[in-house]
């Protein structure tokens, strides 16, 4: 609850709903960065979440970077930085089990 405006705390991004206590939350943030790195690496992007400040840093390998609030922001930023949408149904993500490393 915000003491000034009286609104209840923001419901947050829907993806944050899986962790409510502080320990789970920080674990979820690190895990999120881990999954994002695996997914964004082929696009020449990295994700970093230090756990100290809100938000995620998305950077290109050449060093340009941006800070986003949530996963919706990640995909918008990735689309801009990589020059195309990150599509989970792209061929690189749908390899069969035998092809997977």
């Amino acid at each position: 609850m915000c003491a000034s405006c009286g609104y209840p705390a923001a419901p947050g991004h829907w993806t944050d709903a899986g962790a409510t206590d502080p320990g789970d939350r920080i674990r979820a943030r690190f895990r999120r960065a881990q999954v994002l790195n695996a997914v964004l690496r082929p696009y020449g992007l990295t994700a970093h979440d230090g756990g100290l400040i809100p938000g995620l840093q998305i950077a290109t390998l050449s060093g340009s970077q941006t800070i986003v609030d949530d996963l919706d922001g990640v995909w918008v930023a990735a689309e801009r930085l990589a020059g195309g949408a990150v599509d989970p149904l792209d061929a690189r993500f749908v390899r069969t089990g035998s092809e997977a490393p």
Partner: protein
């Protein structure tokens, strides 16, 4: 019951013109369903008729002269904001409004209404859309589904389909309609009603669905189908949510509906999306007899096994 986060639940009642929405709602209200709820009735015409049909509902608001999913959307948002404002002014000892029922006009697509509530910076704190109920006219629906893309859009996003007028429909036509509805929206619960009271439906396992022509705007697109995704222990909520948010960002126009319950460190989460909009998940009480960790994805333009493989990639790729 779901966890009380202080927000009002909103039930959206839709369905094509003349599909029996008001009749069904009147019957439910008469029998004490949606007790103490605020009922909002939207009509495209300037003269509200439905409000008169509903009679002496204690808590009724009418939005006439425009459809709330398009031209009258701002009217709906401002009405809901007033409701939220009045509710917030009540001191905590008073009984507060818990539920809103929105009966849309027959020309409304429920999708944009959910987006309007979810996308408004005030309403999102006060209202969560808990269910989309769509009335389907047993006599006319097949013809409407054939010719009206809107009729299909309504059926596709429903959580619950109420087939009305089953007392006057022929059994053969009814089973065909049920098979068609199952195909269009395999995830929805289907029930029958005659003049508002619940009625049994015939089995439709053997019936063939109506071959529906592709609507003009969607000609050349593949049919809609449902995929059942099992979130096995290797797929944690975080990986799943990263995957789904990417999927909706890239394929939100094709992925029409996602619904299911996932087990997370925070408890059992009810997740649902309508096109690109995801409702804030609700935490459900523990029930050991329920089968969780299954998500139903309804959409088109992709292969079911690609969804599974891609999800598996997201869940396990970091170990490479």
């Amino acid at each position: 019951m779901t966890r009380d986060d202080g927000r009002m639940r909103m039930t959206v009642l839709g369905g094509y013109l003349g599909s029996g929405k008001t009749t069904w709602l009147r019957h439910q209200l008469h029998h004490g369903q949606f007790k103490d709820a605020l009922v909002i009735v939207n009509e495209v015409a300037e003269t509200p008729v439905d409000a008169a049909i509903l009679g002496d509902v204690p808590n009724l608001a009418v939005l006439a002269g425009g459809c709330v999913c398009c031209q009258a959307r701002s009217k709906l948002v401002s009405l809901l904001r007033e409701v939220c404002d009045a509710r917030s002014r009540l001191d905590s000892s008073r009984e507060r409004l818990q539920h809103i029922v929105l009966e849309t006009s027959g020309l409304a697509d429920p999708g944009p209404i959910v987006e309007a509530v979810r996308g408004d910076s005030v309403l999102v704190h006060h209202i969560v859309v808990s269910e989309i109920i769509v009335a389907v006219d047993a006599l006319n629906a097949l013809q409407q589904l054939r010719s009206e893309p809107l009729g299909r859009a309504q059926v596709e996003v429903a959580d619950r389909l109420v087939v009305t007028k089953i007392d006057v429909a022929q059994v053969a036509a009814l089973t065909r309609l049920l098979a068609t509805l199952r195909r269009l929206n395999p995830g929805a619960m289907i029930s029958g009603a005659a003049r508002g009271s619940a009625g049994g439906l015939p089995a439709c396992d053997d019936a063939d669905p109506e071959p529906l022509p592709e609507p003009p705007a969607e000609a050349g697109r593949s049919p809609i189908f449902a995929t059942r995704l099992v979130l096995d222990p290797t797929i944690d909520w975080t990986a799943f949510s990263v995957w789904l948010s990417a999927l909706l960002h890239a394929r939100g126009d094709d992925v029409l509906r996602v619904k299911g319950v996932a087990r997370t460190p925070a408890g059992r989460l009810l997740l649902q999306s309508v096109r690109k909009t995801v409702q804030s998940p609700e935490i459900l009480p523990e029930q050991n007899d329920r089968v969780d960790n299954i998500m139903v994805v309804i959409g088109r333009g992709y292969r079911a096994e690609d969804l599974r493989r891609s999800l598996q990639y997201f869940a396990t790729a970091e170990r490479t």
